[in-house]
């Protein structure tokens, strides 16, 4: 076993010899050491690069666990005595849980409606290759959110629906509904037409064959689309900033209030930022495998 591996490595290094570059006459054995060093350096690079995204989250969580004095200490403290006072204050004192519930209701409502309307639409668009509709959906994404917000603000103001879930879910649907349709067109296009036809021949009507035969095939797509749409709605700031109020304030708006009111409470800010970011991060881990496909559909030309 060991000797075959050595032979392979020898063979490898002699091939790279033939492929030029290495001076002839260099010791062949040192290649192995060189490879170890190279791999070591590569892993050092990997760790250093990963620290760039991670550091900001580390800073977020650690400010949440620091006292105000520790937060404004110079030099900044990497090691400190953690306190949960900020988290307690944010959850109990600031009523953060209520904002979380608001965000959840809005995101859940928007995703549920998007799936109910979007899935059959996406299936039909994929099956009959209604590309023009798909393209029109793409344009809705290029329109700046303010162009939706101004008319909807006027409409909801007239209807006295500002600070209601209806206003928030409606506007969040502008993002989630076309998104669910885009992603699902992509997944439905890989479903063979014969699948539905054979179910129909067996006597199932369309609704039955769609729910029991077709949807299970694309369940990964449905899951990915739902999770991403949920995250988009959860993170949405602009619509909620204008259309939510005391009763329906969502978490991004609530966190934003931290800097506009009283003097900056760094610990509370870190704790709130941590709490709001946690759900999207955890959700992403579940759909890691499909997320790139989920994020790029719509931009890739068929």
């Amino acid at each position: 076993m060991q000797s075959t591996r050595d032979n392979n490595q020898l063979a490898d290094s002699s091939v790279s010899h033939l492929a030029a570059r290495q001076e002839p006459g260099q010791r062949i054995l040192s290649h192995r050491a060189e490879r170890h060093v190279k791999r070591g350096l590569f892993y050092v690079g990997v760790v250093l690069l990963c620290m760039v995204p991670l550091f900001v989250f580390f800073w977020m969580i650690s400010s949440g666990l620091k006292t105000q004095a520790d937060n404004i200490a110079i030099p900044p403290k990497i090691f400190f005595e953690p306190t949960f006072a900020n988290f307690a204050e944010v959850i109990a004192g600031r009523n953060f849980f209520a904002y979380g519930v608001n965000s959840f209701i809005v995101a859940f409502g928007a995703v549920a409606i998007s799936l109910f309307l979007g899935l059959p639409a996406a299936y039909s668009i994929a099956k009959y290759r209604l590309r023009k509709i798909g393209l029109t959906l793409l344009i809705s994404r290029m329109v700046p959110f303010v162009s939706y917000l101004i008319p909807w603000f006027i409409a909801f103001r007239t209807l006295q629906l500002i600070d209601t879930y209806i206003a928030l879910i409606t506007t969040h649907l502008i993002i989630t509904l076309p998104y669910v349709i885009w992603v699902m067109i992509n997944f439905f296009e890989n479903v063979p037409v014969s699948l539905e036809e054979s179910a129909r021949i067996d006597g199932a009507n369309f609704t039955q064959s769609f729910i029991y035969v077709i949807l299970p095939v694309v369940r990964n797509g449905v899951f990915t689309a739902s999770v991403l749409a949920f995250i988009f709605s959860w993170n949405q700031f602009l619509f909620s900033l204008i259309l939510s109020g005391r009763d329906t304030m969502t978490v991004p708006v609530a966190v934003f209030q931290f800097i506009t009111y009283d003097q900056i409470n760094w610990g509370g800010l870190g704790a709130a930022a941590t709490l709001i970011t946690l759900p999207p991060l955890v959700l992403t881990l579940f759909i890691q495998k499909y997320i790139i496909r989920g994020l790029t559909t719509g931009a890739v030309k068929e």
């Binding site: 990963c50 700046p144 303010v146 162009s147 101004i150 700031f237």
Partner: protein, 301 residues
């Protein structure tokens, strides 16, 4: 072949073809098409909710006013600098990172998960933490600068440094998206061209410039397109960190539009700005699409 059968079958199909997407399309028409249309109509009116609140038709006057306002041209400049800085940085760094991570190694899926975090994180939360880090007195960035013997900078409070600071923040959040898209493309490349190039004695740099980059070019452009749509319209990051300040130094077109609409409540003029912003996003994407398609015909030739 039975004519009647085919006919009736097509009838069923035809109705199904339009019945299934109908509810979604009706809702889309209400929530998406109606506001776009109304926004266009509104851009031809004066509608001042803070004042009289009367809708008055004024033709193209809003457009004339907008195009002669320095604040508009300033916001356009901010949009251009921010977008090109962020998009350029993200595309270059994202592609480099993807090339670095393209080989197989232990822990690769963990690395990908880590790089997903900035993308999924709530922009408001991320922006607030970065605002802390850029803080003049207590921020860790000035501390590190001083550690290396530099002078602390004003960053978000400085008219000249605010855009670089915002660009760096945006690069931090969105480079991973470009990286992951390009990485996915790199992983799906056929092995054959690389093997034969190596047999022919091509150097690593030759392989990179002649084979790898042309093959992943479409993915890079698609990634840049996706990013550009959002970068031009950046709102959360700027609004949370600077609200367009200091002065109007970081007020991009989207923030300007928002301020006109929801700080001054001039709905007509806000709608006009929104139309201009949409036109810019559309044109920019058409240009990128042309670049992408030109690349594809090159490859086929």
């Amino acid at each position: 072949m039975s004519y009647i059968y085919v006919g009736s079958n097509q009838m069923i199909k035809k109705s199904e073809k339009f019945v299934l997407p109908l509810p979604a399309l009706l809702v889309m028409a209400l929530i998406v098409v109606f506001p776009i249309g109304y926004n266009l109509v509104l851009s031809l009116h004066s509608y001042d909710l803070a004042g009289a609140g009367v809708l008055r038709f004024i033709g193209l006057e809003n457009y004339a006013t907008v195009f002669t306002t320095t604040r508009f041209w300033n916001s356009l400049w901010v949009t251009a600098v921010f977008t090109l800085g962020a998009l350029g940085g993200q595309t270059i760094l994202g592609t480099m990172l993807a090339l670095f991570f393209s080989r197989e190694f232990k822990g690769k899926s963990l690395v990908k998960a880590i790089f997903l975090f900035p993308i999924a994180a709530t922009p408001v939360a991320v922006s607030l933490i970065w605002a802390m880090m850029w803080n003049f007195d207590f921020g860790i960035i000035n501390y590190v600068i001083e550690l290396f013997g530099g002078h602390p900078q004003m960053w978000l409070a400085s008219p000249t440094q605010v855009i670089p600071a915002l660009v760096i923040t945006d690069i931090w959040q969105w480079t991973p998206l470009i990286m992951l898209i390009v990485l996915a493309s790199l992983e799906s490349l056929p092995r054959q061209p690389f093997e034969s190039a190596r047999v022919d004695g091509a150097s690593s740099i030759q392989i990179l410039t002649r084979i790898t980059l042309p093959l992943i070019r479409p993915a890079i452009i698609v990634a840049a397109m996706i990013r550009s749509i959002d970068a031009i319209k950046t709102f959360d990051l700027i609004y949370v960190m600077t609200q367009g300040g200091p002065g109007f130094a970081s007020e991009n077109l989207n923030i300007f539009t928002f301020n006109v609409g929801f700080n001054y409540f001039r709905m007509g003029r806000g709608a006009t700005l929104a139309v201009v912003l949409f036109t810019i996003v559309l044109v920019f994407n058409l240009v990128l699409a042309i670049i992408r398609d030109a690349g594809q015909t090159d490859m086929q030739a």
